[in-house]
Symmetry: C2
Subunit: 211 residues, 2 copies
Amino acid sequence: MPDNPQNTDRPKGAIRQENERIILSAAEDVFSEEGFRGASVGMIAERAGVPKPNVYYYFGSKEELYKRVLEDICAAWLDSAGEFDDAADPKAALTAYVSAKMDLARARPKGSRVWATEMTRGAEHLSAYLRDAVDPWVKAREATLMRWINAGKMAAVDPRAYIFMIWATTQHYADFEAQITHLNGGKPLSDSDFAAKKASVIAMVLAAAGL
Amino acid sequence: MPDNPQNTDRPKGAIRQENERIILSAAEDVFSEEGFRGASVGMIAERAGVPKPNVYYYFGSKEELYKRVLEDICAAWLDSAGEFDDAADPKAALTAYVSAKMDLARARPKGSRVWATEMTRGAEHLSAYLRDAVDPWVKAREATLMRWINAGKMAAVDPRAYIFMIWATTQHYADFEAQITHLNGGKPLSDSDFAAKKASVIAMVLAAAGL
DNA sequence: AGCAATCCTGACCGATGTGTCACTTTTCTG
DNA sequence: CAGAAAAGTGACACATCGGTCAGGATTGCT
C-alpha cells in the first residue's frame, strides 16, 4: 500500500465511491450511538463489513472520518434551512421550513443524533460551521421574523427563542427516537403516525406565532 | 482494603458521603460530554480529584456509577414533572410545568445531556424507568389535556405531540447549550437573558395550545 | 499480456481503558 | 490508647483502542 496521507486527493473510482459511502453510513450509525470518543473504528469497520485497516485506507484517521460525517450532516441541515424562504408570507414560509425539518428528522435521525452528540461535547468540530453558516442564517431569519412581526403579520415572539423552538421540536423526533418508541409501546412511529405528528407540530408552531 | 462488592451496603460516613457526591458530580460532567462509552473512569477520577481505584472503592464499576448518575437525573425529572398539576386550569398548570422544566434545564444542563446521550444509545439503561414512570405520567397528562380540550379550555392539539414539544423546547436550552452559546457571540446566556427566553418559551407553549 | 494503480488484510505496536489488590494511612469507636 | 473499620493508592494484569505496514489480490489501462 503506497504511503499517501492525502487520501482525499485520490481519483475517485467506483469501488472507492461505494466503499466510502458504506463506511460513512456505518460511521454515522456508530457515532450517533456513542459519540466521537465512544465510537471505535473497529465498531465502524464491523458495521460497514470491511476490515479496520480499510477504514484507514479510505479515511486517514477516526477524526477525519468524523469530520466527513459532520460535513455531510451540515449539508443536509443547510438544505432544509433553505426552505425558510423569507420572500413568502409567514405562514407559508414557516410551514415549509417546519415541514422540511420534520422530513429531515424522519429521514436522517442518526445524522441529527451525531449533531446532538457533538453538541454535548461542546461542538468543537462544529464551531466554524456555526460561526460561518448557522449564525448568519439565524440573524437573517431573526430579521425576517421581526419584519413580519412589525408588519403585524404574526404575533410578537422572541425570534431567536422561536427558531430554537422549531429546531428543538422537529429534531426531538430524531434525537429522542428511542424515547418516543418506548412510549409508543415499544414500536417506532409508523409513517402515518409520523405524518400526524408532523401536521400537529406544524399547527402548534404556527399557533405559537399567532398564525 | 476489605473485599466488599456491596459498596452500597456500607454505613454512610461523612467522608463517604462527600466523596460520593464529588465523584457523582464529576461523573455527570464527563458522561454528559462523552456519553457512557466515551467517558473513562480515569477521566472521571481526574475530574473528581481522587485516584481511580477510589472510584471503584465507592462505586463497584463504571456501569454502577453511570446508573447512580441516571437515578439522580430521573429523580430531578420526576420533581419537575410534579409541577404539571392536573387539578389546576390549563394555563396555570402548563405555566408551572414549563417554568419548572426551564428551571431544571438551567440548573442541571449536564444531567439533561446525560439523559440525551443515553437516549442516542437506545436508552437501554432508562427502559425500566420510561416504562414505569414516564409512560404512566405521559398517559395521565394526555388524559388531562384531552379533558381540557373537550371542556373547551384549550385548543385541540395532539396531546402527546404537545408534551414532546414542551420537553424538546425546554431541554433544548440544556442539551444544545453549546450551540446557543456559539450563537450568542460565544457567551453563555446571562441570568437575565435566560429569564427572557423562559418567559418567551412559556408564552409560545401556551399560545401553541390557544391559551 | 504486462504493468501500474488501487484495494484488501493479517499481524503488529504503543497507548489507553476497566478493574484488581496488597498494603499503607486515616478515622472511628469502645 | 488499641484495634477495627474506613479510606487511600501505586503497581499491576488483561482487554481494547487508534493506527501502521508488508505483502497479496484485484482492477484498470495500454
